[in-house]
Amino acid sequence: MNSLSLRIFLFFFVSSLSRVWSLQATPRLRSIDRSDPIRSMASAAATTTKKMITLKSSDGEEFEVEEAVAMESQTIRHMIEDDCAENGIPLPNVTSKILSKVIEYCKKHVDAAAKPSDEAGAAAAAAAAAAAGGGGGKASAVPEDDLKAWDAEFVKVDQTTLFDLILAANYLNIKGLLDLTCQTVADMIKGKTPEEIRKTFNIKNDFTPEEEEEIRRENQWAFE
């Protein structure tokens, strides 16, 4: 073999080696199945195929969601991290009606967070300056105000559903949803006298007049 063809052979050999090395250096995506590294690397390099997680409600219905959406729940996130999520995740404390609402919330917030912040700023600035003759608005990102408005609509439900959402948010450990629902209830209580609160929530007053008097005396400062 002459030196030229040897050099050509070496060149191709070295370049193929470097390709293998760069493939190994690709950081493994967290969402891909850990048990199969080669397939995971290939799919990580190829397309953005998202891993789906199956959630099973208490009444047997199954919901398939993207892993990123499911990970909004810290409970589910820990289960995935502890590798207990292979055959779907059973949620015996959550009915299908509530679970579908929870998934809707998580999906909306994951999508909103995915938009880059400067686009959101641009859209917000354009929207704010629209009246002042600003340059044409770009209707793309979800500004903070839009998300807040969506949240406000989301919690306009009957009391039973609202409290079921609180319990589900607590069980699934979704901080944003828990904060939102608890704030909604707090707003329903604010500014009302005890009698009005009882009426709003159908709380039965099981105190005798003497007991009521005693409670008023105990915390007199609150009732002045």
């Binding site: 600035a125 609180i166 209830v185 609150a222 002045e224």
Partner: protein, 486 residues
């Protein structure tokens, strides 16, 4: 290791609340007039009550027997903001002379009563209106004792400016309270000899506490978990920052400060202030994660960033650029675009931060109303290209824009050169109207812009109370200099 332990602890806390929820049994309900809220477990009701003012939260004990003990045993959020008596308040309104001290005394006794009778832990204790009269200091000391025993997590104390030094006293063992995560002290006297044990403190806000250089050094070395620090103190001469945990530092109105020296802050992300480098030297030796910097004044006394030195003196501008800070993404400056020295300084500074993505410019104007001196007129057209403007700058906000020559030239430069610019937001103070803005638009030559995605918006500038225009002091806001905007 500690993070794992913290995660485990939060998992167990959450777990106990969940089992309580399961045990409370919301089964077998029928639709209609059903009391659902009382079925929630105590921990969730506690969360709801924490969102109510203290007075209203305490009133829920009257709702039903289920609710009787809820507030009393949930973590207490005590803020004297909402502790006032209708009777006393009403008397003052209807002209009857009731001394102000009577209201204060009532509030004082109420707080004592609450701290004494509440059974749960204390989450937050905030005193804004309550005043300790001289002879009540021993009672107040008792309060802090109880707070320490109940593992208080947040304390906010605001004393009035007119207190005598004796009245500004706070007990030293407040600083030995391990459970404290957030501490805010306004006009209190920092006890110099206190032994600090605030190992869990995350956020500290000191306003006129006469902490002095030595006290601040002590705080920085003892509070190993401190992430946010805001200082506004006339007693400080030198701030020497060595902290592995600190992420946000805000320095406001430290009028006697001579030097702000960031020696070793590997996690510092935000360095904020109201007009940094006007009086003091700012020296940043090691802050590799610094992302947000401002509000810098271009009348710089001296800034050292790595080995780059910026210094304006009367005869010349000393700049040597040998290191570039690649981490800084957001910069906020105050600059007089009609003054040649300041404009040059701005350009030099921009060269120092090649990855800058967002720029806030506040235009200051000459008091005597002189038009720009000649050096400025074509400065921007003649300088070499600036890295960050060409490749990274996405959003620019110019406030107090008056359409003066210097300001116009800078805006024209940015439009012509910034290739990835998406937004140029111009806030106009004195002149604002359809004709004026369209004239500005034509002057800016928008059609020759370098970035096709760029948009210009003109907005009327909203004058804010100066304290509201300070950079935001938190970790969550994406841009601490975005104040008073949508």
């Amino acid at each position: 290791m500690e993070e794992k332990h913290a995660t485990k602890k939060s998992r167990t806390d959450h777990g106990s609340c969940v089992t309580a929820a399961a045990a409370s049994g919301l089964t077998g309900r029928r639709k209609g007039h059903v009391d659902v809220i009382s079925g929630l477990p105590d921990c969730l009701l506690g969360i709801i009550l924490s969102l109510l003012p203290t007075k209203e939260a305490a009133r829920t004990s009257l709702l039903s027997s289920r609710w009787r003990r809820v507030w009393n045993t949930s973590p207490l959020y005590l803020s004297d903001d909402c502790i006032w008596s209708k009777k006393i308040f009403a008397r003052r309104i209807f002209g009857r002379v009731t001394p102000w001290s009577r209201d204060k005394r009532w509030r004082f006794h109420t707080i004592s009563h609450i701290l004494g009778s509440h059974r749960g832990s204390v989450q937050r204790f905030s005193l804004i209106h309550t005043r300790f009269l001289d002879h009540d200091l021993s009672v107040a000391e008792g309060w802090f004792c109880i707070l320490a025993q109940k593992h208080v997590q947040e304390i906010e104390l605001r004393f009035p400016n007119d207190y005598s030094p004796a009245q500004r006293w706070i007990p030293a063992f407040l600083f030995a309270c391990e459970s404290l995560k957030k501490l805010s002290l306004h006009n209190c006297l920092f006890p110099a000899e206190a032994s600090l044990n605030l190992i869990n403190l995350l956020e500290l806000d000191l306003h006129e506490t006469e902490v002095k250089d030595k006290g601040l050094r002590k705080i920085l070395s003892c509070c190993t978990a401190l992430q946010l620090l805001s200082i506004e103190d006339r007693s400080l001469h030198r701030i020497h920052l060595r902290s592995r945990s600190l992420r946000v530092l805000r320095v406001i109105d430290c009028f006697d400060l001579k030097e702000l020296f960031i020696e070793d802050a590997p996690n510092l992300q935000r360095l904020l202030g109201s007009s940094l480098a006007r009086k003091e030297c700012v020296k940043i030796v090691s802050a590799p994660k610094l992302e947000m910097l401002g509000i810098l004044t271009m009348k710089i006394r001296r800034i050292e960033v790595g080995t780059s030195v910026f210094e304006t003196s009367k005869e010349r501008t000393d700049v040597s650029l040998s290191t570039l800070e690649h981490s800084v993404k957001i910069l906020s400056v105050v600059v007089n675009l009609g003054a040649h020295e300041e404009v040059k300084m701005l350009a030099y500074l921009l060269r120092c931060f090649p990855c800058l993505e967002k720029l806030h410019i506040q235009c200051s104007h000459n008091i005597d109303g002189n038009s720009a001196n000649n050096g400025v007129l074509d400065y921007w057209e003649q300088i070499d290209s600036i890295d960050c403007v060409d490749h990274h700058l996405k959003i620019v906000k110019i406030t107090m824009y008056d359409g003066l020559v210097g300001e116009l030239n800078l805006a024209k430069y940015l439009i012509a050169k910034a290739r990835v610019l998406t937004t140029l937001r111009i806030e106009c103070e004195s002149k604002f109207g359809k004709r004026w803005t369209s004239k500005q638009r034509s002057l800016l030559r928008f059609q020759d812009r370098a970035s096709l995605d760029a948009q210009i918006t003109f907005v009327k500038y909203k004058t804010l109370f100066w304290r509201d225009s300070l950079p935001k002091f938190d970790l969550s806001s994406a841009d601490p200099f975005d104040i008073g905007t949508c």
